[in-house]
């Protein structure tokens, strides 16, 4: 771990890891702990899913989250809901204006549609999610719409939508306070065909902090 200590962690740091560019990562986060994800170099999309530790059939639901807050953007104060309508985590702080949860994860297969069949062999977020989840007995049926931290997907009045240049920058972060015990799964997005990573995938840093008492 070569990164300096974070200036102002949201609690006592119990885990501090660097997720390499293009890599998968997963870890248990306990209720009350705060997961901080830091965009080290700027405009690095971090694809993110959560599964309840007690039963992974309960998992993050982008649709339940959007319906609950009546807004597609994730901001400070947003509560992330499960498919059963239970709160899994709350964004207690973020230095980025908003994050995405409608754009989904890139995959080898969707890359063939978006960019052409020449991209099929490129690494993709679904590959990372499948890899990380397979270690715990989860499979393709566990893939659902995810969160894309630090990714910018505006929707125009006629419904036009797309992944556009990011609004994040080096050192910006998001803090998630766990409302239940869950497994956090990250794909540090390897996409090079759209601006979600500034066309240059970079590492991110993950902290887990115990609650400040």
């Amino acid at each position: 771990m070569n990164d300096p200590s974070p200036a102002d962690p949201p609690g006592r740091v119990v885990l501090d890891e660097r997720v390499a560019a293009r890599a998968a990562w997963d870890h248990v986060v306990r209720a009350g702990e705060i997961l901080r994800i830091i965009d080290l170099e700027g405009n690095q999309a971090v694809d993110f899913l959560m599964y309840a530790l007690h039963d992974d059939a309960e998992r993050y639901s982008a649709q339940d989250t959007i319906a609950a807050q009546r807004n597609i953007f994730l901001r400070t104060g947003s509560v992330l809901f499960s498919n059963l309508g239970n709160p899994m985590a709350r964004i207690t702080a973020t230095t980025v204006a908003y994050h995405d949860t409608v754009g989904g994860a890139c995959s080898c297969e969707s890359n063939t549609l978006r960019y052409g069949h020449h991209t099929q062999s490129q690494h993709a977020c679904v590959e990372n999610f499948l890899h990380a989840n397979a270690r715990h007995g989860r499979s393709k049926r566990d893939m659902v719409s995810n969160i894309n931290w630090f990714m910018n997907v505006p929707v125009e009045p006629d419904g036009t939508l797309g992944i556009v240049d990011g609004i994040s920058a080096a050192g910006l972060y998001v803090d998630l306070e766990a409302q239940m015990d869950f497994i956090a799964v990250i794909s540090n997005c390897p996409q090079i065909n759209n601006p979600c990573n500034g066309f240059n995938p970079t590492p991110v840093r993950v902290l887990i902090c115990s609650r400040k008492s």
Partner: protein, 276 residues
């Protein structure tokens, strides 16, 4: 002892058989060729399915490549949540995020595709007189219906869409993990510049309809429950008529297939899948 003559098996049998021929508003037409509502330019023998699904009801069906599936909002207040699976390999299923991202548009309407998570078209939307649909908010769940109506259980008067979808999926051997993000037909969600969701709740004029074309062999699961953001205090949802009939597989010169470069590649991936 009841006075229905059902104290012994023969009496119970007579009682049961006396019900035959009862007609209610929400029921299947069997056989489908005895259709009450034959689509224009369709032969009765081509009908595969006709069913009126009540408010709070659900239905599920396997449809083969080329089949047409029509939903009619009979009274203007239906809200039909839909899951779609590849019937041959149901771990391939509708991917709502890819559906809107690949087509560069968040609003479903005629000419749009429903994409799987494997880069293929599960179905295309041939016709749509409603144009108010929702790819964002998903199904109601037991908790949300309990908040809205006091009860959201599958066995109560206000069943929730998620658990209706679960029952439909379960009829095909699928389970909790197979209830993926869905599309809601007939109730619309538009996104304002600040990201907020605007519900187009209706009620709308009766008879709005959409027709899908199966581009693969698919399982469709439908649940007809109030939209999760419906603010009315009563459980308000009206029946939907579901019809399906045989149709030709999409031809290489099809206008929807060739409408965008992304669409062409999605159909090429389907055609490659069926090269066997």
């Amino acid at each position: 002892m009841s006075d229905l003559g059902t104290s012994a098996p023969k009496g119970a049998q007579a009682h049961a058989r006396a019900m035959a021929g009862t007609r209610v508003e929400a029921m299947p037409t069997v056989p489908a060729s005895a259709t009450l509502d034959l689509p224009h330019d369709v032969r009765a023998e081509a009908m595969l399915w006709e069913q009126t699904v009540p408010g709070g009801g659900y239905a599920a069906k396997e449809l083969h490549r080329g089949a047409r599936l029509r939903l009619i909002d009979l009274k203007g207040d239906a809200c039909v949540s839909m899951l779609v699976f590849n019937a041959e390999r149901p771990q391939e299923r509708l991917n709502v995020a890819d559906t809107i991202k690949v087509q560069w548009n968040a609003y479903l309407g005629a000419g749009r595709l429903l994409l799987s998570d494997m880069g293929r078209v599960l179905a295309s939307l041939l016709e749509d007189t409603a144009a108010t649909h929702d790819a964002f908010c998903g199904p109601s769940n037991e908790r949300s219906n309990a908040r809205s109506y006091g009860d959201g259980s599958n066995w109560g008067p206000c069943p929730n869409a998620r658990e209706r979808l679960l029952l439909g999926a379960a009829k095909f051997g699928l389970g909790l993990k197979d209830v993926h993000p869905c599309i809601n037909w007939f109730k619309g969600i538009r996104i304002a510049p600040d990201g907020s969701t605007q519900l187009e709740a209706g009620p709308f004029p009766p008879g709005r309809a959409l027709t899908l074309r199966a581009e693969m062999n698919i399982i469709v699961v439908l649940a007809n429950c109030p939209h999760v953001l419906d603010s009315r205090h009563s459980y308000s949802v009206t029946p939907v008529r579901v019809s399906a009939w045989r149709g030709p597989v999409t031809a290489s010169e099809d206008a929807i297939r060739n409408s965008t470069p992304e669409s062409v590649r999605a159909f090429l991936n389907v055609e490659e899948y069926f090269r066997r």
